[in-house]
Amino acid sequence: MQSPGPILALDGVRFRWPGRAPFSLSVPGFTLARGETVLLLGESGSGKSTLLSLICGTVTPAAGTIHVAGTDIAALSGGRRDRLRAERIGVIFQQFNLLPFGSVRDNILLPLRFAPERRARAGDAPAAAAALCTAIGLPDDVLGARAGTLSVGQQQRVAVARALIGTPPLVIADEPTSALDAGSQAAFLDLMFGQVAAAGSALLMVSHDPRLADRFDRTVRIEDIARMDRQAA
């Protein structure tokens, strides 16, 4: 946290899909400053899911470095990549973010289970979860409810709370509004931005919708930072 460098820095990254040898994705360079909010625009199939997997460390590049909060995630072992993800990154999916059978409280606290430092940052974790719930406009009694009983909009808000518990320095959101209607989208984005700003986290959000651009510090097109190659076999 104390290191002054960017929260995310990709350098000379090259990734090959297993079993699809001729294709590769290369990212010559991409950085995200601390506290910065960036919109990553790209159509489906443009490699953005792969890029997110690389950043989160669930896949590893064939070459290059990916520094998350100063640590090269590509050089770590599988277990330590998972640990780093738990400690440093909050993740919000398009939808189905929550374990439907678990309580809202357990869903929010789940990342802390795998991240002792983040748990320590959160302080009194259940109280932090309750505070986040209040902040995102969910009534207190929702904490004990089964996540599956919530509406889609409520579930996405719980996902924001989960991504931000323990204030990770980086939040990654993968088209979090795509399952919401237009009216809810704006409200959701307000809420997410408010929480990210309150936590001082950086936000990397992937979307195909350029109209969202003016909310972000910076907008990046995936084709400007990443290249899909078909290599000679």
Binding site: D82, F101, G102
Partner: protein, 416 residues
Amino acid sequence: MILRLALASLAARALTVAMTTLAIALSVALFLGVEKVRTGAKASFADTISGTDLIVGARSGSVQLLLYSVFRIGNATNNVTWESYLDIAARPEVEWIVPISLGDSHRQFRVMGTTEAFFERYRYRQGRSLEMAEGEGLGDLFDAVVGAEVAATLGYSVDDPIVVSHGLASFTDHDDHPFRIAGVLERTGTPVDRTVIVSLEAIEAIHVDWRGGAQIPGRSTPAETLRGMDLTPGAVTAALVGVESPLQTFALQRAINEYPEEPLLAVLPGVALQELWAIVGVAETALLGVSAMVVVTALIGMMATLFSSLNERRREMAIFRAMGARPLTILALLVLEAMLTAALGAGLGLGLLYAGLLVAQPLVDAAFGLWLPIEPPALRELWVLLAVVAAGAIVSLLPAIRAYKLSLADGMMVRT
């Protein structure tokens, strides 16, 4: 929290989990039930006779001698003459001796001629002696004492008349000399329950007018005359012997086996029981094997259910992964879930066993004379339950490893 989530995940799939649990519970109850019956049968088998050091009979096989003298199964091929009996009784090693005379029957039950010493010396279930439930022992020549099952089956009580039939499953009755029931014995869970006991002299008395297996036509000696006669038997079927000191058992056994006047056989009841059990034990082992296979089948059913649930749970695993769970955690989660299911099934199976025992105990006792004790689970049973949980963990490893690979490949993204 992981445990709570695993439980919640199980609860969310309550129906399939309940079915799997039920299958495991039934198989565990079956296995433990078979085990219970097996140990119960073995114990009641071994408890049939105790305190007797040697059983003596005409030379045949040790198992055969045990079967007809103690279990009233099959017949003696030959008798022991009264002279030989007296010779053995007179030996210094012999502390006590009880003669047994078999061969007649009453309905489906066997009649055994013996002496008062039988009631004093016969021991079952680690040294328990026979007790009268009703009435008293043999007093008059034509007194009979019946076992609990005889009384229960035929509705007999003290002072009822009872007619002994000649031989086994015969149509000729010793109806000229009816007996009186003098006493009914307490239930013992041994073949004594199914025996009509009369005195050795009474056996002799009812055969006074018989030659070669048939009544001499027109002859029927009155009871009063019989009471005055010398009713010393010519032979007995077998004898139970107690020795002065256990050290002398083998010497006495050898002496009887080498008795020059007549081919005799003396066996140690415990050894003969072991031999008999070795024969019966094959079926018992097969039964145990079959019920173990049923448990394995139930566990494989659980494995199949886990496999089929994997695809619909990829999203769940992706969430765990995104939150920083290692693939190993995913594997552990599935194994934990299987262990919980197996533990639930095993616990429920134990409950089913006790419920079944409560219902079946009196029925089994009445039908087979087999008393299945209801006791807290023995260490052995706890090991079985533990083994079921462990086996559940082992069979769940296959689907868990598949989940591990899926979650490695999927990462946080599930392409659906």
